[in-house]
Symmetry: C2
Subunit: 249 residues, 2 copies
């Protein structure tokens, strides 16, 4: 193992629907004099990916269903936002104390189907990318072409945790990197065999990136350098707990 570095990518402009995020990132790197190195992991926040992909919705265009209106009333939320939460989900996991935890169409379990209203403008809400692994793959290919080196991309969002206060950034999409580092079958120096150890390194990378970029800095991307990982295209969907192993459905 070696030193890890997290380099925030400053100077990206406000991202709009249809923008070429690869071009914006490469231009910002060029202006900052930041050069990519082989193996770098580019971490890009969901919000700018969603914006570039046109996944921002004006709440005034949303017609809440009866179900959404009832749930909104119960949880003290905007019925139009709840309508979007329901549309983006396959089931409501819990709803209490003004919090709606859903399973998204991707299979992620998170608050509000990952929809939020920060950094998008008043009266708007940003939905998660339709296929965040595909978003990551497109970004990786573009960034590899633009930089000439082999890279990985992690698309991140901010999720809460059931038994711990606060949130951490986690991976909702990845490309060029295996999300888990399997230790199964490897032995410690006493000969004890590790069986279930598989660090979710893309989630740890997402959290590390968040430390360098924060929420209100307007820095939507960073480079995490020095991580040892396997190249893979299984994507962040490989992190979703299979139903049969889910103890908290």
């Amino acid at each position: 193992m070696q030193r890890i570095e997290v380099i925030p990518l400053r100077g990206l402009p406000e991202v709009e629907k249809g923008d070429d995020l690869v071009r914006l990132i490469l231009d910002a790197m060029g202006r900052a004099g930041t050069e990519a190195e082989g193996g770098d992991v580019f971490v890009v926040k969901q919000k700018v990916v969603s914006k570039a992909e046109g996944r921002v919705v004006a709440l005034q265009d949303v017609q809440p269903s009866r179900k959404a209106r009832a749930l909104a009333k119960e949880q003290g939320k905007d019925p139009r936002l709840v309508e979007l939460i329901l549309q983006e989900s396959v089931r409501v996991v819990r709803a209490a104390h003004g919090v709606i935890i859903t399973e998204t169409k991707h299979g992620f379990v998170c608050a509000n189907s990952g929809i939020d209203q920060s950094n998008v403008g008043r009266g708007f809400a940003a939905l998660l990318p339709v296929d965040s692994d595909l978003s990551a793959r497109r970004l990786r290919r573009g960034l590899e072409k633009g930089t000439g080196v082999s890279l990985a991309v992690v698309v991140t969002d901010t999720f809460g945790r059931p038994w711990r206060r606060g949130q951490t950034d986690v991976a909702i999409g990845c490309s060029g990197i295996a999300p888990l580092l399997p230790y199964a079958g490897r032995k410690d120096r006493y000969g004890y065999e590790l069986r279930v150890t598989e660090p979710a390194i893309v989630d740890e990378i997402a959290g590390a990136a968040e430390l360098a970029t924060g929420k209100l800095t307007g820095i939507p991307a960073s480079i995490v350098r020095g991580v040892e990982y396997e190249r893979s295209e299984v994507g962040a969907k490989a992190l979703i707990m299979p139903k049969g192993r889910d103890l908290f459905r």
Copy 2:
């Protein structure tokens, strides 16, 4: 925000009961020529803290209760290990598929009360420190005295997550750093007020450190440099979700 660096601290010897962990870390830094800087966050793995504090138990000395034997049989585990898991917990949250999720005496919800058998020698199990915030505080004071600069310490363990495969390192103790970075009341550039955003930065720091140290490298500590944080002594216990807000009891 600025660059973050994670510097693994190599060259620590095998830690034994009664060892002065502060001295071992300072000596290893001296040999490696690593100097601490003000604001550095020292991340130390639970395993070496537990070893130094004598929290390693020989399974042959454990007498499993009837309850432990029944649960062990049900989940296909060693009854002596299950006895320890029960002794260290206040309740079993879930037990299924060979996994026992408990709430520890500290209030952490994790597999096996945080007890594990890797890197401690065959026939032994390491328990979590009795008071991991106190462990962090002692380390911080010793490291501050030894280095002459103001520091923070995070004690980490590896926890699973209910709906995501794999594990990430999280904070089970901290000192000199506020575990959460509260954004409540702050506004984005559109004037939208953040209400529930409070990144659990000590957990993100724990994960970042894990990327540089791994599981089988014999590197039990690292320095995370460049994180913006508030100084505080509330400890990692402030991360425990209050019962009234826990949707998944």
